[in-house]
């Protein structure tokens, strides 16, 4: 059994060596997850806000579906994207299977429900506070969306980070649609699976430590930016 001490030493050695293969894996992991979170946010923030503001038949169904999709198993998302992008699938002509783009698409599907559902909650709470004032100012509901999103920005930052956490941690979807191709679609999590399957547990754990450190760093940066801005804006 690898001791955790062993794994830490492996992680340290990996970082010290600045191995170019490792570096490209780290960069690809960050690219895929950050782009996926960015795209998902573009769609999910307005969607969540709209769900908070509009009442329409079937609204509860949509909310329940979004909440349920927060628990969508990554493998299922991966499988759906696989069937979609496969040559034999409807979007096969695009030739996107086993590319980083396919991984981004799969992660967008995983992250979007989380951001949309949590945004809906945040915006609904803020809207309860703002509604009378904004109505008094004569705002239409669609004009309220950017106002509410901007004023909820600190809470939404946490929401987006939750989405990033899901994207950077998942392996099931990127494994299926990316194929874990060395130098092309291999990311941190699929490398960890590969090393585990080789029985190279210290290496797998070492990569895990690096991934955790990276995610911690990004969360710390976001937290510091958020806290500073919050202190400035009250």
């Amino acid at each position: 059994m690898p001791t955790s001490d062993n794994a830490f030493r492996t992680a340290l050695a990996l970082i010290m060596s600045m191995d170019s293969a490792l570096l490209s894996i780290v960069i690809l992991s960050l690219q895929v997850s950050l782009i996926a979170v960015f795209v998902a946010s573009l769609l999910a923030l307005p969607l969540g806000a709209a769900l908070a503001l509009w009442r329409f038949p079937g609204r509860n169904g949509v909310i329940i579906a979004l909440n349920a999709l927060m628990g969508l198993p990554p493998v299922v998302a991966g499988l759906c994207v696989y069937l979609l992008l496969s040559r034999a699938g409807p979007l096969g002509e695009w030739g996107l299977l086993f590319t980083p783009t396919a991984m981004v698409i799969a992660q967008v599907i995983l992250v979007l429900p989380i951001i949309a559902a949590l945004t809906r909650q945040q915006i609904e709470a803020l809207h309860a506070e703002y509604a009378e004032q904004l109505n008094s100012l004569g705002l239409s509901r669609s004009r309220m969306i950017p106002t509410l999103l901007w004023d909820a920005r600190f809470a939404l930052m946490t929401v987006i980070l939750a989405g990033f956490g899901r994207a950077s941690a998942e392996v099931g979807a990127v494994m299926i649609v990316g194929g874990n191709i060395d130098g092309v679609t291999r990311v941190m999590t699929t490398s960890i699976v590969l090393e585990t399957s080789k029985g190279n547990l210290p290496m797998a754990l070492g990569l895990g430590i690096i991934l955790l450190a990276l995610v911690t760093m990004i969360n710390a940066i976001a937290h510091i930016i958020g806290e500073t801005a919050k202190r400035r804006l009250g």
Binding site: I27, L30, I35, R87, A88, G92, G179, V184, S197
Partner: protein, 269 residues
């Protein structure tokens, strides 16, 4: 803060673009098995091929069952798998036009070093498997329709054993995870030699049975049908297919060693 976010995002987008631009156009996607990938064979032979032809080979390592499915859907340009019966069926079904023997290695049975079923002195693999079943010693099976799994199931049949019961554990995992699990539960398991030799977490597992001709594990390369999937990179895939059985390709396979041990034996006709 808005600026910072925009900056990070643009940076990330830019990197992706440069990343995809860097990738060579001349590449094929090869669906192959975890045993070849995990043992490190591809890391050893593909650079030689790429150097000679300028063609990059991107390996998607999956179970043989999934590799066939990827091939049927046209999601890979070439297949290198180890299930001769399945491969012949694949050709018969019209998904591939040609199947060639490339190399073989062999399967072995590993298990806890105290060998509770006493298989180490078995006369044949069927004998060994009968002993495991009779003593109801824990046995970890891949259970994932991979080439290894299919070979294992054929051998149970030959041994006249229906693998069922508390002792027989279908894991539904790749070779590596199955070895990890077998090591954890002190179970016997059926593995290809290459993965076993390269495996780094054996714990109390040890090689207990090997050498029966029935454990022969043949790998074949499939040339996919141009008729069925005209969009694939058939020209490049054909070069790979032919290189594997060429003198250089066969030599590269023979030269691959782990811990001074040759793992794959070229046998192209």
């Amino acid at each position: 803060m808005k600026k910072a976010t925009a900056f990070i995002t643009l940076g990330a987008l830019g990197l992706t673009f440069s990343g995809s631009l860097m990738a060579a156009d001349d590449y094929i996607t090869l669906a192959s098995t975890t045993s070849t990938e995990n043992s490190g064979l591809f890391d050893a032979i593909i650079p030689t091929f790429t150097e000679e032809t300028g063609i990059e080979v991107r390996v998607v390592a999956v179970g043989t069952g999934q590799a066939f499915e990827i091939g049927r859907r046209g999601d890979a340009d070439s297949l290198l798998v180890h299930d001769t019966a399945g491969e012949e069926q694949f050709v018969a079904d019209g998904y591939a036009t040609e199947r060639l023997n490339v190399m073989y290695n062999d399967f072995v049975i590993v298990g806890p070093s105290d060998d509770p079923a006493g298989i180490s002195d078995s006369e044949s693999v069927t004998d060994a498997m009968q002993r495991i079943a009779e003593s109801a010693s824990p046995f970890a099976s891949r259970g994932d329709d991979s080439g290894t799994n299919r070979a294992e199931l054929r051998l149970w049949e030959d041994a006249g054993v229906t693998p069922k019961g508390e002792w027989y554990r279908e894991l539904g995992s790749g070779m590596g995870p199955t070895l990890n699990t077998a090591a954890g539960m002190d179970a016997y398991t059926f593995t290809d030699r290459a993965t076993w030799v390269a495996f780094e977490n054996p714990q109390d597992l040890t090689l207990l049975f090997e050498g029966d001709e029935a454990l022969f594990n043949q790998y074949g390369s499939l040339l996919l049908s141009e008729e069925r999937h005209p969009d694939l990179k058939h020209d490049l895939a054909a070069q790979w297919h032919e290189w594997l059985v060429s003198e250089e390709g066969q030599q590269a396979i023979a030269d691959f060693e782990v811990d001074g041990q040759q793992l794959f034996f070229p046998n192209a006709e």
